[in-house]
Amino acid sequence: MKQIESIGGQDLKDMFAAATNWLEKSAQDIDALNVFPVPDGDCGTNMLLTMRSSIEEASRAPDQNISQVAQAMAKGALMGARGNSGVILSQIWRGLAQSLNEKETINGHELAQALLQASEMAYKGLSNPVEGTILTVMREAASAAQKQVAKGNGNVISVLEATVDAANESVANTPNLLPVLREAGVVDAGGQGLFTLLEGALLYLRGDVELMQFRKPRVIASSIPVTAHPIQMAAEEEAFGYCTEFLLKGENLDLDKLRKKLQSKGQSLIVVGDESTVRVHIHTLDPGNVVHYITSLGTMHKVSIRNMDEQHEDFLAMQKGRMPAVDMAIVAVVAGDGLADVFTSLGASAIVPGGQTMNPSTKDILQAVEAVPSDKIIILPNNKNIVPTAQQVESLTDKSIEVVPTESVPQGAAALLAFDYEADFETNAKLMTEAKSGIKTIEITRATRSTRLNGLAIKKKQAIGLLDGHLLAVNDEPDDVLSELLARIDLDKAEVITIYYGDDTDEAEAERVSTGIREQHPNLQVEVVSGGQPHYNYIVSIE
């Protein structure tokens, strides 16, 4: 069997670059491991994007010793951390990098030590660590590495093999530790993601490159090209480059070829038209390159190249007048144009697009924080999975940061409204945190798959209702689910109900729902607002 006594920085980078590609092949399968049949936090995709950022940074390491590379990878993971699992992954990298500090290369013993420190760091990063998750998998894997070293098998491959085997078992065991996993009949998605990464690293190190190319961590057998195509994320596209639009006129234009060629040159690509006239829209860092290519095919018309950074700055300048106070600003994470408008109208200085199905990265939030012209920033994550991502920002900026850990849009709106115009930064963070506790949140969405949960039999595409994050009702129509959940709340104590209807729900239907509530509870003030949020028919605030 192959034996490797030590690995250096280049090895570390290569094995995790390969592991990231390995993870990519099963990212969607891991996403599907949602415990809840709601469009959940995209665990696999989040881990993949976090690793991409890590690998990208690795190539910028000033030196190729393992210490420098690991540090660069930790930095990359931190900046690109998305979602809860991404943040934990970034903690793991932080622990690894600390342990590898000032080392040129490492042997199996040192690898085991680094894994142990990574596990400890992962636990430290969470105020309330839960077993049966990626944390447990990391801990048990690290512990197996230690045992392997103690047995005297100190070469890198044997240590990593023991680690991967233990991770495998640990993932399989997660349903025994977490009742929600057991009930849904799935393993923990984050744990699965970590296992896949470790397995990928091992396969690469063992030289099973061919196997990695032609096989897949789980289902689907196909060879995905090693150069990864970027996953398009609205939040990331908007922040840089030039929005380039034009008409191309020519003869026998091949749209497919054109699309393929342009895909490598930018993002948000749209190519429509016929063989004589094609309309193109692309966000690119190098419009010159695009123009050069296009003019070789025909003539360009109605050319528009706009600097998106400037557009962004103009937008911010416009927002400045709305800010609640000159030295303080609020950055909020919300999905949907309507909700973005609501939060802006209540005084949020910057909106980071994101929510349940699209967790923004630490970098996305950091960019918004840096862009607003205030030194004291309050962040409203408005989603449980985004809270840890937001909390990472503090260590990355010179600005003072307070994260008010809002877990839903209604909590965020209540926190924003609680802003005291004469109180200082810390007091405001406190007031806003207190305000979110008086709010009840109902969310109505469609089940993404059939399952049983909390004793409810749920069929795919049925309407399901969550009260403060707990799935409590299921029915065919969203209205019925909403009524059922409202009936569970003591509405005599409530004063205001706000219904934010989603992008695929009509206003008339929302109005009908609100009329029903008003008839039953004449003392309540009921407001209907277009939230425009994806996936959720209704988000309802009860205060």
């Binding site: 609640p324 409204l417 609680a418 003030q525």
Partner: protein, 281 residues
């Protein structure tokens, strides 16, 4: 001779109280189209809100003409040689200008000083009440000015609004402009800061904003004067006074209504509490 105290009608000092404390109130004017009414004199708060909420005409207001002050000065000169005029913030009204112009017209028949209170409503009213009490105790004009100057920064009105529509339409929104345009409804709570309207908080319900008014008062350890005033909701004002009576003697709480001139900007359903904090916390 006792120093005479003059104020304007936006101080929301009732005629009974003015009489009792020897305060002269100069009215501003509120107009519905071509109909003009002297604030609090020719139009009561109730009449004003009845018209505001039933008619399409949007009322306007004007400061008292200097002549109104000249008349009052001439009347008071018969009884005193020292007059102190305390008026609404110069950033909200030109009343201060009228009062000083009138003084210059009189050319030193009597010593008259005009002070910009940087406030209005009972925020101004409580300063005036304190000044009248000090003047009656026999203080000189300089003595009263000294005491008033100390109280101006210690007096604060806190007002729960139902809507910002009237404040915005009337051009007095000041620093609360950022509150406009919200897609969610809320009850704004405002104050007067450095002479202009400034935002404090936003609440989703009247009950929550009333809690805030109570808590605002409860936050003071020493209160010299306290006032509660309303526009169209006497019941809410009663409730607030009842709650406040647990922490401050009920009989010492001044009750009033928002004057028609202020009502033009505050709109219906406003509830306000003003505190004049005592010296030495």
């Amino acid at each position: 001779m006792t120093v005479k105290i003059i104020t304007d009608s936006t101080s929301d000092i009732t005629s009974n109280l003015a009489q009792e404390l020897g305060i002269t109130v100069v009215p501003l004017t509120v107009s519905f189209g071509h109909e003009h009414f002297l604030d609090r004199v020719e139009m009561t708060t109730d009449d004003f809100y009845r018209r505001l909420t039933t008619e399409d005409i949007f009322p306007t207001t004007t400061q008292p003409p200097p002549g109104a002050f000249v008349d009052v000065y001439n009347e008071l000169v018969k009884e005193t040689d020292e007059i102190l005029v305390i008026v609404i913030s110069g950033k909200l009204s030109g009343t201060y200008q009228s009062a000083t112009n009138a003084r210059d017209i009189l050319k030193g028949k009597c010593r008259i000083e005009v002070i910009d209170s940087l406030s209005t409503a009972m925020g101004l009213g409580l300063i005036v009440i304190a000044a009248a009490k000090i003047a009656r105790s026999g203080a000189s004009l300089d003595g009263v000015i000294d005491e008033v100057s100390k109280r101006i920064p210690r007096s604060q009105p806190v007002m729960s609004f139902d809507t910002l529509k009237y404040l915005a339409k009337g051009g007095r929104i000041g620093r609360a402009a950022g509150l406009l345009g919200s897609l969610l409804s809320f009850k704004p709570v405002l104050t007067i800061r450095d002479g202009e309207v400034a935002p404090l908080k936003r609440f989703r319900s009247v009950a929550a904003s009333m809690d805030y008014l109570y808590n605002f008062v409860a936050g003071f350890t020493k209160i010299e004067e306290l006032a509660v005033e309303h526009a169209t909701t006497p019941d809410n004002a009663d409730k607030l006074v009842e709650r406040l009576s647990a922490i401050y003697p009920k009989e010492r709480i001044y009750r009033s209504t928002v004057s028609p001139v202020l009502g033009t900007y505050m709109g219906p359903n406003v509830l306000a509490v003003s505190v004049l904090e005592a010296e030495g916390k």
